[in-house]
Structures are given as C-alpha cells and as structure tokens.
C-alpha cells in the first residue's frame, strides 16, 4: 500500500474540520432568527395545565402562539379550562393519553395525565359564556342540520355522495360528530367547524366557526371576513352583495380606522366604525338593541326560503319571535346612522320586491311544477334528474335568493342583473319547457344514470330521535 502524501492528509483534515464546524458557523450566523413567543407561567395554573402549555409550545408552536396572543391568555384561561373533560365522558381523546408515558418528552409522565377532548363545544364555552350560548342555541346557525334535512332534496333523495357532502355541504352546515370505541373521531365527520355541528356531548354548533381557534377573537367575528367563508357563491352571495353595497365600499375604504377591539357592549356605530359590517347589523349591540348571537333576530323575512315567509312562519324551524318586533329592532340599528324616512322608504322597496318575487315569479312556477307532478308528466321519486326540476330549484335557490338578498342589502347588481333579470329569464325558460310538456302530454326527459347519487338518505338520529 502506498503511503499517503502529507499534503493529502492535511487536506483531508482541513475538510473534515470544516464539515464538523459547519453547524457552529451557521448557528453563529443565525443571530436574527425569529423569536419564539414567550410565555412565563407566573399565574396559577395546575401542573397538568403547565404540562399542556410546555408540550404544545414545542409540538404545535403556531397554535400556542395564537392562543398566547388571545384574550383568553390575557385572563389566564389556558388549555385545560376548555379542553378538560371528566373521566368517563364519551369524547375523551384516548389517543392523546399515549403522550403521558413518553419518557423522551419532559412532561411525558403519568402524573400530568388528564382526560381531554379534542373538540371544544358550545357547551364547554357555556361554562363561562352561558348567555351567548343560549342565544346561539336558538339560532338557525345552531339548528342548521335539522333545517337542512327538513328541506333539502340533495340529502333526502340521496342525489350527491357522502364525500361531496363532507367536503361541500357539511363544511359550513356542520357534521354529526361520531366517536368510535377507541376514542377516535370518525374521519367522515371531522375535521369540521360548521355552524350547526352536532357534538358528542349533544350540544349544537361551533363557536369557532366565527371566533376561530385559538384566538377566539371578538374583533375577528366583527369583520365581514368571518362570515364570507360560507356566505358567498351563487346560492347566497351575501359577501358579494355586501362588497357592492355602500356599506361594503365604505368598510374597505375606512377599515384601517375601525376599532374592532372595543369591549363587549361598547362597539359604537359612527365612533368605532363608519359603515357597518355583517355583525354590526345582525349580531352586535347597537343603540338600545342588545347583542344577540341568534342571527335570526332582527329579520323580518326569510329571504333564503323557497317562498319568502316571516321567520315565525318558517316551517322547518319557526322562530319564536315576532317579525314586527324584530323589524323594529333592525330599524333601531339602522337609526344609528340613518333617518326614519330613509329607513321606511328602504323597507318599502324591500317589501315590494319580496311580494313581487313571491306572487309574480315563485307562486306561478311552483303551481305549474305541482301540476306537472299531479299529471304524472314529471317524476317525483327523485329530484334534479329532470331539467324542469333543476330550473325550478335554481329559480328560488340561486337567482331568487340573489334578487331578494341583493335588494335587502342594497346591491343593485345583485338585485337586478344577478337577481330579478335572471329570475325573469328562468321564469320564461321554465314556462316554455313546462308548457311544451303540458301541451304534448309527453313525459319530461329523465337523466339516466344520475352521477354519484349515493349519499345516505337516513336522517341523523342525533337530530331526529326515533
């Protein structure tokens, strides 16, 4: 074997030492790395709670930092206050318990073990915020699964697939949470932050739909961006309508000046905000009208229903309120910025639009649809598989809602071009086709092999007990 020249040995040594020193060099260069959110435990938290914080600040730093910036952290409300459950509860996250026997984790010890639930529900929130939860439990938000199953042909006729529902419908409306014997949440029902989620403890809804985890901010829920995740699109474009309205344009122009962090009960029109957001009119207190998490309050028409009705006459979920009282509440909200004639004249136009939609467009089309069914020219067993059914559906569910909501929230483009203009066109197309069927007496064409109509048609027992 040939001897290695000295120069070669030196070369190898230099390279080796450089490689070894590399981590030190890079560390020395990283003097400006972003600082981790600090949290010194200075106030009383039980040792189990300290374990949560110390472990999760390392394991899920984003989640931890989010909480650390919250009003909850400010008031020393920590993980356990919301996530703690009692032994024997059905929603204990059993998978989480493995971490208490992990010797590689500083807090991975049996003595820190507590039963926790992954899903925090309105019932948990009600421990500290009972009135808000009571209001919310009365709302169409909390009861949306019941309403959906009482109305919706997609579900009742099984016209879409379970996964189309999970990723589409239920994402906003909410799932019925199922937990198996091992304590794992059924992935078909989770993750979900839908407003009407049915939780394992029997409570309805999810506060985090609007006050997102783990900041739970009142400011966030006061912004239109909290609502636009669900209230958009062809069937109820509330956010697009708002954007077009004067309220929305003023919000965008002046939002930097808005004081979204005003204390509860103090958020004031004209002082803390120039033009209202969704919450300002529908939820937040204003003038003498008190805050309510029941979004059905202050409504005088159900503009999303096929036939527009008063909230107390909305059959699937009749409101316990009186529309006249609620309209007066909304008028009192308007009065924070507008004069009486402005408000009354606005409502005059809104009521007329509702009457025109109901009497001129919806009722005649519905009557003709019923005639087709009764004469056997349309098949009633399933929905959406005949063109006339789709036409009828879109007339009320798409442009019919756009027209009514566009008028209500003062967006001319949605009231007319995306609204009544299209209602008119749909009305004529529906009638042309329906009259043809009636005249010829030939049964309407049924789409063969309707795609992916595989969804479960059984109503959830948690909502409709047998």
């Amino acid at each position: 074997m040939r001897k290695m020249p000295l120069i070669r040995i030196i070369e190898v040594l230099v390279i080796l030492s450089l490689v070894c020193a590399l981590p030190l060099l890079t560390a020395a260069q990283q003097t400006n790395f972003p600082k981790v959110k600090q949290y010194r435990i200075e106030r009383s938290i039980p040792p189990e709670g300290v374990a949560c914080i110390e472990c999760h600040r390392a394991a899920t730093p984003g989640l931890f930092a989010d909480w650390a910036k919250s009003r909850h952290a400010n008031a020393n409300i920590s993980c356990l206050d919301c996530h703690l459950v009692q032994p024997g509860d059905t929603d204990i996250a059993k998978g989480h318990e493995q971490y208490y026997s992990r010797s590689d984790l500083p807090y991975g010890q049996e003595k820190y073990k507590v039963p926790i639930a992954s899903i925090v529900t309105p019932k948990d929130c009600s421990r500290c915020h009972p009135d808000e939860v009571t209001q919310y439990s009365r709302s169409k938000h909390a009861n949306t699964i019941e309403i959906m199953w009482k109305l919706d042909p997609w579900l009742n006729k099984g016209m879409n697939s379970d996964n189309e529902r999970k990723t589409g419908c239920f994402n906003c409306h909410g799932t019925v949470i199922k937990i198996d014997e091992k304590g794992d949440i059924d992935p078909a029902t989770w993750p979900n932050a839908g407003v009407g989620r049915i939780n394992a403890d029997g409570s309805m809804g999810s506060c985090t739909s609007c006050h997102t985890r783990h900041r739970f901010s009142v400011a966030e829920a006061r912004m239109p961006e909290a609502c636009d995740q669900c209230h958009l699109g062809p069937d109820h474009p509330q956010i697009e309508i708002y954007e077009e309205s004067k309220h929305g344009t003023m919000y965008h122009a002046y939002k930097d000046e808005y004081n979204f962090n005003a204390a509860g009960g103090t958020w004031t029109a004209g002082v803390d905000y120039r033009a209202p957001t969704c919450a300002a009119c529908h939820i937040s207190g204003s003038g003498k009208v008190l805050t309510s998490h029941d979004v059905t309050e202050r409504l005088s028409w159900e503009t999303q229903a096929p036939l527009t009705v008063r909230p107390q006459d909305f059959k699937p979920f009749p409101a316990k309120s009186d529309w006249q009282t609620e309209r007066n509440k909304m008028k009192a909200v308007c009065q924070q910025c507008h004069g009486n004639s402005w408000i009354d004249d606005f409502y005059d136009g809104f009521d007329k639009a509702i009457m025109e939609y109901n009497d001129v467009y919806f009722k005649p089309v519905k009557a003709k649809l019923d005639e087709l069914y009764s004469k056997g020219l349309l098949d009633k067993t399933t929905f959406f598989d005949e063109h006339l059914e789709l036409q009828f559906y879109e007339l009320w569910h798409h442009e019919g809602r756009r027209a009514r909501m566009g008028v209500m929230m003062m967006a001319p483009d949605y009231a007319w071009w995306h609204g009544f203009y299209e209602v008119k066109a749909r009305f004529n197309e529906f009638n042309e086709e329906a009259d043809h069927v009636l005249k010829t007496g030939e049964k309407a064409y049924v789409y063969p092999n309707y795609p992916n109509a595989t969804g479960n048609t059984k109503r959830p027992v948690e909502v409709f007990p047998e």
């Binding site: 409300i77 206050d81 421990r127 009972p130 409570s203 409709f464 007990p465």
Partner: protein
Amino acid sequence: MKEAGTAPEGKKPALGRAVKSVILIVIGILIAFPLFSISYYTMVRTSTPEFCASCHEIKPAVRAWRESTHVNNAVGVVVDCMDCHLPAPQDMYDFFFAKTYHGIKDVAIHFLVGEYDREKARKSAYAAFDNDQCQKCHRNLLNIPNSRGAMLAHRSVIYARAGYEKKCVDCHYDLVHDDKIAVMYRQYRKLPYQAKGLRVEKPGI
C-alpha cells in the same frame, strides 16, 4: 258603708276571671307543649339523611351524596339533604309546610304509584331548585382570581340580563348525586373542578 259592701262584689268576678285565665293558659300550655315538642322532634328526626334513606327510592341518592364533596372535604363541612332540598329552617313557615307537603306526597306516591323514575325525579328537582338554596352557603361567588371564567359566568347569574335568568344547577348539575366509583374528597380532587356548562336537553328526551 255601702261602697265598701259593694266593692267585694265587683272584685270577686274579676279575681275569678284571672284565675280562669291562668287555668286556661296552663291547660293551653299542657296541650300545646307536647304537641309542639312532638312536631319539633318529628321535624328533627325526619330531617336527617338517614331518615331520607329509609325510603328505598332515595337510597341511591343518599349513597351518592355520602360519596360526594358535599360530605367529604378538608374543612369538615357536611351539607345535609335538607340544606339543599328545602327552604332554610329560618323560613319556618315555608320549611314546615314544604317538608310536610313533600312528606305526604312522597308517601302517597310510594303507595299509590309505586314506580320511581330517578331521572324524572332528578329533572323535577332541578326545576324546583332555587338559587337561594345554594347561596345560603355559597355567597362569595364573584371574586375567584384563579378562575376568571367562573367569575364571568357567576356575574351572568347574579346580575342576569332580563330573559337570561339561570339556575346554579343549570351548570352545576351531577355535582352530588352522580354515581361514583369511589368516595370523592374535595382536597384529593386531581382534576380542577369545573362546572359542566349549560345542561343540554337532547331532542326527544
């Protein structure tokens, strides 16, 4: 001495009246005292948890109570059935009549109906519960520095917004009469105590 002669005539009936009254009072005391004592001792003897447990329907509730923190705590305070379930004894009238009414009702139902649905009874007990019952003892509820959430919640009960009146037992239920696997000592509570949150009435139940 006509006047002197007439005077004893007038005095005699007056003295007789006084004697009569004294005799009547003594008779009254002789009748009333035993009656009063009997009812007093009856009240005392029928106010113990042991007496309540003499009805088999109530036994499970008394057992659960005996295992609860309302009996087992470091300060040695024991909260009896009557302390929560009946008006305070200082409200003599309410206490006496409520107790008699419930006694008669329970005995009548025991013999006439027979069936005892614990869940149903629990519900009607929650419905009948007054916050004053709890607040006889739990009076300092607004300042709990290590539990800001409880402070917030208690404010919403004690200074309730109109239409949002709540009962203590709306959140603090299953506190005493839940079936436990072991005796619960307050000072050995491993998990921090939390109210359960507003009771959820599941549909159809």
